[in-house]
C-alpha cells in the first residue's frame, strides 16, 4: 500500500497531500514527521537525488524537485524500490507538466494538471501507471500510443 504522497514547498508548507489507509488522527503526525525529515536531510541535496528512510515497517523515499519537496510513503510490497519507481514517475510527470523542475509558483500554476497526474499514477494506494508519456495522454483523455 502506498500510504502517502506529499508535496511541500521549501519551507515545509503543504502543497498536496494524499493519504491512503492512514487514519485521520495519524495524518498530522505523518505530515510533521515527513517535513522534519526533509528539513534535516534535503538541504543541499541535488535535484531529484533520492533519499531513503525506513521507520518500523514503513518506507519513505523523498526528493527535491526545483523548489518542491516530494515524499512518498509505503509499506509491504511498496518497499524502497517500488517507491523509488513511484517517485520517479511522479517527478518526471511533474516536470513534464511544468516544463522544467518547478518553482513553487510554477507548481501552483499547474496545480490542476498535477492532481490529474497523481490520479493517473496512484489509484487508492496502488501504483497504476508508470510511463510519463502515457500519463500525459491519459490526462487529456487521449488513448496512449501503444493502445
Amino acid at each position: 500500500m502506498i500510504l502517502a504522497v506529499l508535496f511541500t514547498n521549501a519551507d515545509g508548507n503543504i502543497l498536496v497531500e494524499r493519504f491512503h489507509g492512514v487514519p485521520a488522527e495519524e495524518r498530522l503526525h505523518w505530515r510533521s514527521f515527513l517535513v522534519k525529515l526533509g528539513a534535516d536531510n534535503l538541504k543541499g541535496a541535488k535535484n531529484e537525488e533520492l533519499l531513503v528512510a525506513s521507520h518500523k515497517s514503513v518506507f519513505v523515499v523523498y526528493t527535491i524537485l526545483g523548489d518542491v519537496c516530494i515524499y512518498v510513503v509505503g509499506k509491504d510490497e511498496y518497499d524502497e524500490l517500488a517507491l523509488a519507481e513511484l517517485i520517479f514517475v511522479v517527478t518526471s510527470s511533474v516536470k513534464d507538466v511544468c516544463g522544467k523542475p518547478p518553482t513553487e509558483r510554477l507548481f501552483l500554476d499547474h496545480y490542476g494538471k498535477i492532481c490529474l497526474c497523481l490520479d493517473e499514477i496512484i489509484w487508492k494506494g496502488m501504483l497504476e501507471n508508470t510511463d510519463k508519456d502515457r500519463i500525459r495522454r491519459l490526462m487529456r483523455l487521449k488513448a496512449p500510443t501503444d493502445a
Binding site: I14, L15, V16, E17, R18, E49, L50, L51, V52, A53, S54, V61, E77, D79, E80, L81, A82, L83, A84, E85, T103, E104, R105, L108, D109, Y111, G112, C115, L116, D119, W123, K124, M126, E128, N129, T130, L138, M139, R140, L141, K142, A143, P144, D146, A147
Partner: protein, 887 residues
C-alpha cells in the same frame, strides 16, 4: 542551466510572492462553482474552479454535507460539455467528493453512458469512477460490462476494469471471484500492464487456494512475463509456493529455484533485486543457493542510486544475522559504505560489518567506526553501541579495544539514552568478561568525573560499591568517589557516601581512612547526606555496638530488603506517627506482584544497570530469611530452590491464593500466599488442608496456620512435607483452604466475636522433576563439558513420535528438565531438520549437570532424540534419563 533560472526569478521577484491560490477562501470558491450551472458552459473557467476546489481539498479543507452535495450536483451538470480536459477533471472531482449512496444515483446514468461510449478513454475513466462510488447492488447491474471490459482489446479499458476489480475484491469479494475466467484470459494479454494487473487480481482471487496458486506459478514461470512489475509479483508468489511446499526439499533440488536464479540475470534491476531477496529469504537456504544472490547484492552496494544501495545493504544485514559467513565477501564494499552520505545506509553497513567481522578485523573496523560516530544522530549511535556490545561478547579477547572505544565515545557529547546505552554495555561486559572488570570500572570512574546525568552517576556509584572492593586495589577508586562528595548535587553526594561506606565495610585496611572521609560528610549541607554518614559511622565504627556481629551490621546496611518495596511503601503510607516506632517486620512479605513483573521480561538478559544483578537472587534471599525465621523449618537445612508463585485461584475471586514451592534436600515446604478481598470479612485460623494421596513419597510433617487475615493485607500459611533425601520425588497435591470467617462492621471496622467455620476449594499443586533443578548457565559449554568426567556420561536415544515442529519439541524437553539453555541453543532455526541444544543446571544435592540433546525430525514429522548427560555424580546422570523417560 542554472543561469536563466536565476535571472527569471529576479525579474519575477514580486510575482513570485503571488500564488494563483493566494487568499483563496472556501466560500468564494463555492460561489464560483455556480458557473457549472451556466447554460453556456465555459470549459476553461469550469476547469479553473475545479482546480481551486481540488486545492482546497488537498489542503485538508473539508466540505459540510450540504456544501458537498451542492458541489456534487453542480459538477454532474458538466457532463453536458464535450470538452475532454473538463471531462477528465469532472471524473477526478467526483472521485474526490465520494458522494453518498443516495446521491450516486444522479450520476450513474451519465457514467453508464460513458462506459459504453465509443471513446475508449471515456470508458476506462467511467469504469474507475463507477467502481469507486457504487455499492454491491449497483455492481451486480454493471457486472456484465465490467467482465467485457476485462477482456477488452483496448489495454486501457482492460487495466481500468482489472484495477477496479482489485479494489472491489475488498468490498464485494463474491462478485469479483466470478470474474476469474476473464481475468485468467487477461493474464495472457500482450500488453505488459494488463498482464501485471491481471496477475495481481488473479492471485488475490485465488490466494486461499494453494493448489491454484501453485498451478498459476508453474505455468507462468515457464512462459514469458512481459512487464518487470509482473515479474516481481511472480517472484513473490513463487517464494510463497516454495515456502508452502517445504516438505519437498528433502528431495535435494528445490522447486522453482532455477527460475529464481534465472531472474538474477534479468535486465530490470527491480526484478534482479526481488529475486535476490527472495533467495535470501528461503527457508533453510544453503550457502550454495545464497552465493549468486549475494553476488548481485554486492554489485548493488556500489550502485550510484542510494535506494539500490539501501535495499542491498538492508537485505545483507538480514542475511548476516543467520549466515554471517556468506556475507563476508562483501565486507570491502560495505566498508566503503561507512562514509556513505545517507546515514541509514552507513549505519546498516556498520552493523552488518560488526556481525560478519572476524576477530582479526575488529581493530581495523573500530578505527573506521570512530570517524563515523561523530556525524550520526544519537538513535543511530545506540544501534552501533548495541552491535559493539554483542561483538565484544562474541570475541571476549578483543575486550580491550572495544572497551576503549566505548570509553572514548562515552566522553563525547550525547543525550541520556545514548550515554545510558554505553554505560549499560560497559557494565554487561564487566559482568561477563572477568578480565575486563578493572579497566571497565576505571572507565566508569572517569566518566562520573564529568557526568551531567544524576541517574547515571548514582547507578555507577552503586555498581562501583558492589564491584570495587573486590578488585586487586580498591583504594584507587576512593578518590573518584570522594570527588563526588565534594562536587556534585545532594542525590549524588548521598549515593557517594553509601559507596564509600561499602568500601569501608568490605576492605578492613581502608576502614580508618574511609572513616576520616565520612566524618567530613557530617558537615554536609544536605540532611540526607549527613544522616547517611552518621548512620555508617555509628554502625561500622569498631567502638560502637549498635548491631550484633560485624556480619549483622553489614547485612543490615547493605543486605537486600527482605520485603517487597511496594508493600513497604504501602505500610509506610499507612503508618501514623506515634510513640510506637515503625516495625519493618509488620510489613507483609507476600510477593504477589513479583510474577507479573517477571512475566513481562521472560528470559531477558539483565540489561545493564537498569536491573541490578541482585534482582532475582534477592527474592530467593527473602524466602530463605522468611523460612529460617520459622522454628519448625530450621532443621530442614539449606534451601535449594524456590519456585515462582503458582496461582491456585482464578483472578478476582473472594480469596486469592498462590503457592511457592520451597525445595530442601529432604523436605518440601508449600508457602500459600493468601489475600482476603472482601472488606466485610475477617478470616482467622487460616490453614490449607493438603491431600497428598497422589504423592506417595511425601508425608506431611508440619502445618503452620495463619492467625488472622484481614481485608487486603496478604498473609502466609505453610505446610511442610518430608520426602526421601536426594530423590526427585514427584506428585500431585489437592488443596482446601479452611478458615473461620467473622463479619466486620464496615462503619467501625470491628469484627464480630463469633465466627463460622468455612472452606474454599483451591486448584491442585504439582511437584515435578524440574522443581529439583536450578537453572544455572555456564559461560563456555564446551570447556565445562570436557572438564566433566566422561565416565559419568550416560547416553540414550528416544523416539518421541509425531510432533508439530522441532522448536516445540525442544521447548518441551527444556521445560521437563527445568535447565538453563546455553549459547542460545534453545532457538531452533526455522525449517531445520536437526538441532542440538545445550543445557546446564544444578540438581538437588548441589550436583552440577550438563546435557547435550540432539533432535532430528523426518518427513513424516517423527522426532528422534539423543540425550547425553554428564554430571558430577553418575547416579544423577541416570536420574536425568529417568526424568526424560517419564516426561
Amino acid at each position: 542551466m542554472a543561469q536563466p533560472f536565476v535571472k527569471k526569478d529576479d525579474d519575477l521577484d514580486e510575482e513570485e510572492e503571488y500564488s494563483p491560490f493566494h487568499g483563496i477562501e472556501k466560500g468564494a470558491v463555492l460561489q464560483d462553482a455556480r458557473v457549472f450551472h451556466d447554460p453556456q458552459l465555459d470549459a476553461r473557467r469550469c476547469s479553473q474552479v475545479i482546480t481551486k476546489l481540488l486545492y482546497l481539498l488537498n489542503q485538508g479543507e473539508t466540505f459540510t454535507k450540504v456544501e458537498a452535495t451542492e458541489v456534487f450536483f453542480a459538477v454532474t451538470k458538466l457532463f453536458q460539455s464535450k470538452d475532454t480536459v473538463l471531462r477528465r477533471m469532472v471524473y477526478l472531482m467526483i472521485k474526490e467528493l465520494s458522494p453518498s449512496a443516495d446521491e450516486v444515483i444522479i450520476v450513474t446514468s451519465s457514467l453508464m453512458k460513458d462506459m459504453n461510449s465509443k471513446t475508449d478513454m471515456y470508458r476506462a475513466n467511467a469504469i474507475r469512477v463507477l467502481c469507486r462510488i457504487i455499492d454491491g447492488t449497483l455492481l451486480t447491474q454493471i457486472e456484465r460490462y465490467l467482465k467485457q471490459a476485462i477482456v477488452d482489446k483496448n489495454p486501457i479499458v482492460a487495466s481500468a476494469a482489472l484495477v477496479s476489480g482489485v479494489h472491489l475484491l475488498q468490498t464485494n469479494p463474491e462478485i469479483v471471484k466470478r470474474w476469474s475466467n476473464e481475468v485468467q484470459e487477461a493474464v495472457q494479454s500482450r500488453a505488459a500492464l494488463v498482464q501485471f494487473h491481471a496477475l495481481a487480481l488473479l492471485h488475490q482471487i485465488r490466494q486461499n487456494d494453494r493448489l491454484a496458486v501453485s498451478k498459476l506459478v508453474t505455468s507462468l514461470t515457464k512462459g514469458s512475463v512481459r512487464s518487470p512489475l509482473a515479474q516481481c509479483l511472480l517472484i513473490r508468489y513463487t517464494n510463497q509456493v516454495i515456502r508452502e511446499s517445504s516438505s519437498n526439499t528433502q528431495a535435494g533440488e528445490r522447486p522453482f529455484f532455477d527460475y529464481l536464479e534465472s531472474c538474477l540475470r534479468h535486465k530490470a534491476e527491480m526484478v534482479v533485486f526481488e529475486a535476490a531477496r527472495a533467495i535470501t529469504e528461503l527457508n533453510g537456504v544453503t550457502s550454495r543457493e545464497l552465493t549468486p544472490a549475494i553476488t548481485v547484492l554486492q554489485l548493488f552496494l556500489s550502485s550510484s542510486k542510494p535506494v539500490l544501495r539501501f535495499a542491498a545493504i538492508r537485505t545483507l544485514n538480514k542475511v548476516a544475522s543467520t549466515h554471517p559467513l556468506a556475507v563476508t565477501n562483501c565486507n570491502i564494499d560495505m566498508e566503503s559504505l561507512i562514509s556513505d552520505q545517507n546515514r541509514s545506509i552507513a549505519t546498516l553497513a556498520i552493523t552488518t560489518l560488526l556481525k560478519t567481522g572476524n576477530e582479526s578485523s575488529v581493530d581495523r573496523l573500530m578505527k573506521q567506526i570512530t570517524n563515523f560516530m561523530s556525524d550520526i544522530a544519537d538513535e543511530f549511535k545506540i544501534v552501533v553501541v548495541e552491535a559493539i556490545r554483542s561483538l565484544c561478547l562474541k570475541f571476549p579477547l578483543k575486550y580491550r579495544s572495544l572497551m576503549n572505544f566505548l570509553s572514548n565515545i562515552l566522553r563525547e557529547e550525547g543525550g541520556f539514552d545514548y550515554k545510558k546505552a554505553i554505560v549499560d554495555s560497559i557494565v554487561i561486559l564487566i559482568r561477563d568478561i572477568p578480565d575486563a572488570k578493572e579497566i571497565g570500572l576505571f572507565h566508569l570512574c572517569e566518566f562520573i568525573e564529568d557526568c551531567e546525568f544524576t541517574y547515571l552517576s548514582t547507578q555507577i556509584l552503586h555498581f562501583l560499591g558492589n564491584e570495587g572492593p573486590k578488585t586487586s586495589d580498591p583504594s584507587k577508586y576512593i578518590r573518584y568517589i570522594y570527588n563526588r562528595v565534594i562536587l556534585e548535587n545532594a542525590t549524588v553526594r548521598a549515593c557517594a557516601v553509601s559507596t564509600l561506606a561499602k568500601f569501608g565495610a568490605m576492605v578492613d585496611s581502608l576502614k580508618p581512612r574511609i572513616f576520616v572521609l565520612l566524618r567530613r560528610c557530617l558537615f554536609d549541607g544536605d540532611d540526607e547526606v549527613r544522616d547517611r554518614a552518621t548512620l555508617y559511622l555509628n554502625t561500622l565504627g569498631s567502638d560502637a555496638s549498635v548491631g550484633g556481629t560485624d556480619e549483622d551490621v553489614k547485612d543490615f546496611l547493605f543486605g537486600p530488603l527482605d520485603v517487597p518495596l511496594v508493600n513497604l511503601e504501602t505500610s509506610l503510607r499507612n503508618y501514623e506517627a506515634s510513640d510506637i516506632p515503625f516495625d519493618i517486620y509488620s510489613v507483609p512479605r507476600e510477593v504477589k506482584s513479583q510474577p507479573l513483573a517477571e512475566k513481562k521480561a521472560p528470559g531477558k538478559k539483565t540489561a545493564g544497570l537498569g536491573a541490578p544483578p541482585s534482582g532475582p537472587t534477592s527474592v530467593v534471599d527473602a524466602y530463605e530469611k522468611l523460612l529460617s525465621s520459622i522454628p519448625e523449618f530450621s532443621s530442614f537445612g539449606k534451601l535449594f530452590k524456590s519456585s515462582s508463585p503458582v496461582e491456585l485461584t482464578e483472578a478476582e475471586t473472594e480469596y486469592s491464593v498462590n503457592a511457592v514451592k520451597h525445595i530442601f534436600d529432604g523436605h518440601v515446604v508449600f508457602q500459600y500466599n493468601c489475600t482476603n478481598t472482601i472488606p466485610e470479612q475477617l478470616l482467622e485460623l487460616v490453614t490449607v488442608f493438603v491431600d497428598a494421596s497422589e504423592a506417595e513419597d511425601f508425608s506431611e510433617v508440619v502445618s503452620k496456620p495463619l492467625r488472622t487475615l484481614p481485608y487486603d493485607s496478604p498473609g502466609q500459611t505453610f505446610v511442610a512435607f518430608e520426602k526421601p533425601e536426594g530423590v526427585p520425588a514427584t506428585g500431585k497435591f489437592s488443596n482446601l483452604l479452611k478458615f473461620v470467617v467473622k463479619e466486620v462492621d464496615p462503619a467501625t471496622g470491628e469484627a464480630e466475636e463469633d465466627g463460622v467455620e468455612d472452606e474454599y476449594q483451591l486448584e491442585d499443586l504439582e511437584i515435578v522433576a524440574a522443581d529439583y533443578m536450578l537453572k544455572v548457565g555456564v559461560s563456555n559449554f564446551k570447556n565445562a563439558w570436557e572438564s566433566m568426567d566422561p565416565d559419568n556420561e550416560r547416553i540414550d536415544e528416544y523416539g518421541l513420535g509425531v510432533k508439530e515442529s522441532l522448536a516445540e519439541t525442544v521447548t518441551a524437553v527444556i521445560d521437563i528438565l527445568g535447565m538453563q539453555p546455553c549459547e542460545g541453543t534453545e532457538v531452533v532455526p526455522s525449517n531445520s531438520r536437526s538441532h542440538t541444544c545445550l543445557l546446564s543446571g544444578i540438581f538437588v544435592g548441589n550436583v552440577k549437570v550438563l546435557v547435550r540433546v540432539s533432535f532430528g525430525i523426518d518427513g513424516s514429522k517423527q522426532v528422534a532424540m539423543k540425550l547425553a548427560v554428564r554430571s558430577e555424580d553418575p547416579e544423577v546422570s541416570e536420574k536425568i534419563h529417568e526424568i526424560v523417560a517419564d516426561g
